[in-house]
Amino acid sequence: METIWLAIIGVLFTLFVTRDGFDFGAGIIYRFIGGTDAERRTVLNAVGPIWNGHEVWLITAGGALFSAFPVAYASTFSGFYLALILLLWLLMFRALAMGLRSQLTYPMWRSFWGTMLVIGSLAIAVVLGAAPGNLLRAVPLGRMAISSSRSGPTSWSTWRLACWTGIPC
């Protein structure tokens, strides 16, 4: 039964990454491929109606992790607190950029929110990319791991910059 739940959570995260992955990708490349304002709006309209549906799978995966593996959920959300809060803000920030950009026709307004969309999408990809790097590399769980950590008991909760890039630290 435990393996079935792990498979379910894996499928849910895979659904999220394969679907929202192209949303984030479209946000990253949006300024490179969209020469005119109409083309940039076309990019946004390609992902606009579906991106929020994709995030249903992230929420479902989080809910499934909480239901099936509460200890792992608690450790992950405590340990990666900063990264998860950052991800949450970036997702909201990106949604704001997509929603607000075409509400006014001022070039500066559109340019500002377009830039924010690129920055938000890029930063989300960086955070989501650093996560598997840290998970595969192992994290300091447990009393011994924390007390033997070089930066003291808070290192698990406050990532150092090197950890963000997946570099062993």
Partner: protein
């Protein structure tokens, strides 16, 4: 390193999606970018695999115990080939499907690497495996039923959403109050 790799993978996947959904100059630029991104994903993919082993040699443990599992990361790397091949032939849908397949095999490979752990600790005694991190067997069994109900709604919504917005993007006029 994994962060840079994921940025490249998402950019390629996004460019493939845009070629699939658009037409004209925008589609051509997205195709050119996707072609340029193919090798920029293939090389970091191989480097990241080696770096994972260097950072934690024990990550090979499951592959040594079950050698057939090596097929997962191998397929993830190998499906970048069809992405490049389909891209050159301007098969937009197939290139998008191939980049999605590469991500799926990447996720499967990562899952196979850490199984049966959910969180790997720097000290072996503190690993959170599916057996010591799971809730009670009763809760797992009941939860499966509730999950089936919830997931069927989410799946129905996803299918409805994709059916509603299938085909190429039609840009709505400005001021209609809809669209982006």
């Amino acid at each position: 390193m994994t962060a840079a790799f994921v940025v490249a993978v998402f950019a390629l996947h996004g460019a493939n999606f845009i070629t699939f959904k658009t037409e004209g100059d925008l589609q051509e630029r997205a195709r050119a970018l996707a072609r340029a991104m193919g090798w920029r994903v293939a090389v970091p993919s191989a480097v990241t695999a080696v770096a994972t082993y260097i950072a934690r040699p024990a990550s090979l443990q499951n592959f040594l115990q079950f050698p057939s599992g090596i097929a997962l990361p191998a397929l993830s790397f190998a499906t970048i080939g069809p992405v490049i091949w389909f891209r050159r032939r301007q098969c937009d849908g197939a290139a998008f499907a191939a980049s999605a397949a590469s991500i799926i095999f990447l996720m499967l490979g990562a899952g196979f690497t850490i199984y049966p752990n959910v969180l790997i600790s720097t000290t072996d005694a503190d690993d959170l495996a599916i057996y010591n991190a799971a809730t009670s067997p009763y809760a797992l069994r009941i939860g499966l039923g509730w999950f089936a109900v919830g997931a069927s709604f989410a799946t129905a919504y996803t299918i409805f959403m994709y059916c509603s917005f299938r085909g190429k993007v039609a840009l709505p006029d400005e001021g209609e109050g809809e669209g982006y």
